[in-house]
Amino acid sequence: MSRQIPLHEGLYTWPAERPQMLGSRCNQCGETAFPAQDDCRHCSASDSTVVPIGDRGILWTWTIQGFMPKTPYNSGETEETFAPYGVGYVEMPGGVRVEARLRENTPEQLRIGMPMQLEIVPFRRDDDGNELMTYVFRACEESEA
């Protein structure tokens, strides 16, 4: 029976009522990394803790991926079915800018500084028919909590 599973473990909390992105915080210098890593790229210590880094953030920069990438891109799409997608860095309250696919895929829908909300969405199916889930961000209202 097919089910939904994460494309990669450890990037976010899911399933959850309100999924959060996960990162690591260095216990020596306090800097945050995404994805979580044991070693600190700032102070070289090997003393970090996995922490939630939030589910909302501010769009720091963006672009639109207009052509279908070659492998290793693996979305199950074909040249015919490929849909352009947004890509951006989202500034998270956890203290790091996370690169992500964006729901929005036209320049008119995107501007630097806009608030963005995390969503965990189906990306493709594996050979067993399972839905592989990934993280994306979508534009949201300032007041949306």
């Binding site: 672009t63 790091v96 690169e99 990306f123």
Partner: protein
């Protein structure tokens, strides 16, 4: 101890059906040897690199099994700059008197498709379509335009100038000038960068013969001198390609530190440079690199592009051979193509694209994934 360039060779960039990348590298070495009037047997060492066309040291099968020290260099788009740096250091140390630096490549068509595991990243990053250099460059210039008031006009003018210079260069891949409108209306690839604002992977080879400056005049009446060679990598906080996340703090890019180190070594400043080659993987990176290398303030590029200051006859001639945009980018060879062009300019042999007024100080800059820059300063 000073280091001289006594020979330069190029196998034209572009597409060469039926000719391996290795053979293009060999052709470049033979051209450089002939230019210097020396033989392969005289080479005490070689540093060389290629991304997709095999190990550079396989060149000995083409050029002769002389037993020389041959070291393969691989440093992304900065491979050429890194090879030259290694050779410069080898001669500077006094260990060798003469050697060759070579780069060549032959890439499949279309954008590069890097493998996450080669860069210490898990597969999901590539699978979900985040691992593209084109995306990164688009996002970097998008933020830069926002922060420094650069408009699309400047991006278009970079490409316009590149293809104009390419039209004056018989060894360029793209020798047809494009109008402002053709560039402005070309397909959007990754907003804000359009088709003609990106360079394409290509083929070609480039080689240089270096020697101890004390003996340079035995081979040529006009040796050129490498006053500085510097390679630097990224710091924590610099915004670089293939990064699933960025730190909140902002640090100087590796280009800034490599450039400062090179100017310090050479004992001159940006105002002393007469001709320069800056990594122009796309229009946006050239704009950013103008400031990162110290040739203007952030934001000043808009005016510099509009006023024509960066044209061959301007006060700051950039990418006089058409740069990566008009030459394409065979990764292993690209950085050495820049040096080749600066040498032609300093010798006064650049033909229709010669910078007027007998330039005597040249500057080259390469930038590669995932955040490595190489800078060279060359003088007459």
């Amino acid at each position: 101890m000073e280091v001289a360039i006594i020979g330069i060779g190029l196998h034209p960039f572009g597409r060469h059906e039926g000719m391996s990348g290795l053979k293009q590298g060999a052709a470049a070495v033979r051209a450089a040897l002939a230019d210097a009037g020396v033989t392969w047997e005289q080479m005490q060492f070689a540093y060389g690199g290629s991304q997709d066309a095999g190990n550079a040291d396989a060149l000995v099968n083409e050029l002769g099994l002389t037993g020389l020290q041959f070291t393969n260099i691989w440093n992304g788009c900065a491979t050429g700059g890194s090879s030259l740096h290694a050779a410069y250091t080898a001669i500077k140390s006094g260990a060798y008197d003469m050697g060759v630096v070579v780069g060549f490549d032959k890439h499949p068509r279309g954008a590069f498709n890097a493998k996450p595991s080669d860069w210490g990243i898990d597969d999901w990053y590539g699978e979900t379509g985040l691992m593209l250099t084109t995306q990164f460059f688009a996002m970097k210039i998008q933020r830069y335009m926002h922060d420094h008031g650069i408009s699309e006009d400047a991006l278009i003018r970079v490409a316009e100038r590149a293809f104009h210079n390419g039209s004056l260069n018989p060894t360029a891949w793209r020798q047809q000038a494009l109008t402002y409108e053709q560039i402005a209306e070309s397909t959007m690839v990754s907003h804000p960068l359009r088709k003609y604002m990106f360079c394409n992977p290509a083929e070609g080879g480039a080689a240089l013969i270096l020697c101890n400056a004390d003996i340079a005049r035995r081979f040529t009446s006009k040796p050129l001198f490498i006053k500085a060679a510097a390679v630097r990598t990224r710091h924590y906080g610099s915004f670089e390609v293939f990064s699933p996340s960025q730190a909140m703090t902002v640090a100087d890019a590796p280009t800034v530190t490599a450039s400062k180190a090179a100017f310090e070594l050479a004992g001159i400043g940006p105002e002393d440079v007469h001709v320069l080659q800056l990594q122009d993987t796309d229009s946006g990176t050239e704009i950013i690199h103008m400031a990162e290398n110290g040739f203007c303030e952030h934001g000043e590029q808009e005016h510099l592009m509009r006023s024509g200051a960066t044209r061959i006859d301007g006060r700051l001639p950039i990418n006089t051979d058409g740069g990566c945009l008009a030459n394409g980018e065979p990764v292993g060879a690209s950085g050495l193509r820049q040096v080749y062009e600066v040498c032609l300019q300093l010798r006064g042999h650049a033909g229709a694209r010669q910078v007027p007024g007998q330039p005597s100080v040249g500057y080259t800059h390469v930038y590669g994934a995932p955040g490595v820059s190489g800078v060279n300063i060359i003088t007459t």
